[in-house]
């Protein structure tokens, strides 16, 4: 009974926060709403007997990634989005896509609810840190190593991308840009 109430509380909170994220024009409000989604999903993971994933969700998503996003919003000093000059068919396309996905969701819920969908073993605790660690460093050793290399590549890549160009390279870029502009003017 309590778990049911908690599930619907957090599910409602997650959906509300997700809608608010898409609705708000100010990126900072969107970011705060997204933190709400992440935290309510972490609470749902706890009710699904996955405490490790819940903690990692809080640490990685609500902690690291959202702090990064808020930092970028602060660095770029973004204002509200200006009035849209976008083609109207994109809104129709988005609405149609949403309707199709929602219908698909309803179909999945209907199909799954007709099958015996209770947990195979309600007392199983597969989400313990010890189980996850054991699987991670035995069966999944190679993927974990690959993920480590990928994170290293991401660090190097983001530093290279966000770095300012050195003075000769910058001058080259500016020269190219000016040449392109003058060509546009003459043509």
């Amino acid at each position: 009974m309590v778990s049911t109430a908690l599930f619907f509380l957090f599910a409602g909170f997650a959906i509300m926060c997700a809608i608010s994220m898409v609705y708000h024009k100010n990126p900072l409000y969107s970011a705060i709403s997204l933190v709400g989604v992440f935290i309510s999903l972490a609470c749902i993971y706890v009710t699904l007997a996955a405490p490790f994933i819940a903690i990692v969700q809080i640490l990685v998503y609500a902690g690291a990634i959202m702090v990064l996003v808020v930092f970028v919003i602060m660095l770029l000093n973004l204002d509200d989005e200006p009035k849209s000059s976008r083609l109207k068919y994109l809104y129709a396309l988005g609405g149609g896509l949403g309707l199709v996905l929602l219908a698909q969701t309803l179909f999945v819920v209907y199909a799954v609810s007709r099958t015996p969908n209770q947990a195979i073993d309600p007392n199983a605790t597969v989400g313990n840190t010890i189980d996850i660690g054991r699987a991670m460093y035995t069966d999944y050793l190679l993927p974990v190593e690959i993920v480590g290399v990928m994170l290293l590549m991401a660090i190097v890549g983001s530093v290279v991308l966000a770095r300012r160009l050195s003075q000769p390279a910058l001058e080259l870029v500016i020269d190219n840009e000016e040449e392109r502009r003058s060509e546009e003017l003459t043509s």
Partner: protein, 101 residues
């Protein structure tokens, strides 16, 4: 009504739909990025729900991999946004039209 597999899948599908519609509606690159994160989280929820219902740890390991990819994506993506903003003084994706025509 006790929450069962169908309700978890329903919640995940609704969150995925909201994220997918948001990617089309948002013009701000950061907003699109946040919608993609929301879609990744919806998929993670299905992984954890199936992992619970089949009493199998592999779904949660997949969630771990997805989170690592999301972290790498965040680092590289935000680096791209900063470089883009430096060149265009805007983060509106419609201004990224250098290759048009």
């Amino acid at each position: 009504m006790e929450p069962n597999l169908a309700t978890y899948l329903g919640l995940s599908g609704v969150l995925f739909t909201i994220g997918c519609v948001g990617v089309v509606f948002k013009r701000n690159a950061l907003g699109m990025f946040m919608c993609i994160e929301l879609m990744l989280n919806a998929v993670n929820l299905t992984f954890v729900a199936f992992s619970r219902y089949y009493a199998d740890v592999h779904g949660q390991l997949f969630v771990f991999m997805v989170m690592s990819v999301a972290a790498a994506e965040a680092a590289v993506g935000l680096g791209i946004f900063i470089a883009f903003f430096r060149n265009r003084q805007s983060i509106d994706v419609d201004t990224a039209s250098l290759l048009k025509n």
